[in-house]
Amino acid sequence: MTRAVSILVALWLLPAAALAQPAALGLGRRLGDPARTAPTSSAEEEEEPSDDEGPWAGPQIQMSYAYSKLSDAYGGGDTHLAAFEVFVQWPLSELRTSVLAEAGGRDYALGGDDFVFRAGVGIGFQLTELIDPLVPHISVIATGGAVVGQRFDTSVVYGFGGAGLELGAELRVVRNLHLAASFSYLRLEMDGAAFDLFEVRVGFGL
């Protein structure tokens, strides 16, 4: 009877001992020195190498939505574009270079919407360390593209080109994932007329 009670008590205590073992077993116990205890879990985390250390080198790719008003001279011209931008990484992280492609629609007041495509390159300067994780930038933009639409039920294509300046910033959320916003002014020439284009862009990237 005494033996049976001993077995029951042992079975009851076994799960509790198994649960308690990881906390009780320390590094020294595992190495054969019961006096030494393992570092706490928070200390283990601190010792793990972290790739978040150091300043962020800036964005690599971005996807964004852009709004501008490319006037059609009749009150329309609201332009909504989806943009994709790829950044070239340099050893000097303050140097910011990128290639941009945008496509979307433009409201034409006297008819159906136009299709707009725009490509551009940007060269500028970005502050990667000063107020990390916020990376502001200023870039010079050279751009070109086309407006494809219908005028008097006939397809027309108008090419345009120009240059301008972009101001913006990225806010790093985690690792390379970041939010981005920018504002740019472009002076464009299309079909013999000049256009002042102000574009607002918001997006995210890696």
């Binding site: 007041a109 008097f152 039920d153």
Partner: protein, 194 residues
Amino acid sequence: MTLADPANASQSPPVNRALRVLFIASLVVSCAPSGDDPLSRLDTWEAPTGDYRIRYLAPPWAIIEEDLDGARFQIESTLMASGRIDGGVGKYELQTSRVPRSVEAEMDREVRASRGVAGRSIEEGPRAITTHEGIEGLELITFDVPDPFERYRRVVLFPLGASQTLRLDFDATPDLDSDEVTEMIRLVGIGPAS
């Protein structure tokens, strides 16, 4: 500079050429008329007499022929543009002319004539239309049933002075009661150019 001298990038011909092109391009862009002005994108044909002018988007519009009284403008049909037929009626046609009657008398004559044409129905008008310069006129839109194909007609009349009337005869397959055509009519200039 000898071959032993280090190259100076700012003096190399390609860089100088690129800077010149950039400078000229910036001048061209800065001197171009603002795209906010509708006239910046339009061509202007002025009557030889100087008393009216047509502002049109080219392309797609093109002048086919002109004389002292007026001109004929056209937008090619798809068949014409693709080269499958040469000549013929365009997708859009505009003939300008001068008639020795008042606007009201000419419109009365036009309405009577339209009612007398078999297969032609009056879609809109006569109704008033005013140019951006404030000149008031009258217009009539009619529709011809297919014979051999459907065509819309839009006749617009503006006073030219001295009992003369400017007559614009639009003729097209697409509906002519559109914002684009209306805007083209409202951009017509009447009187001596300012």
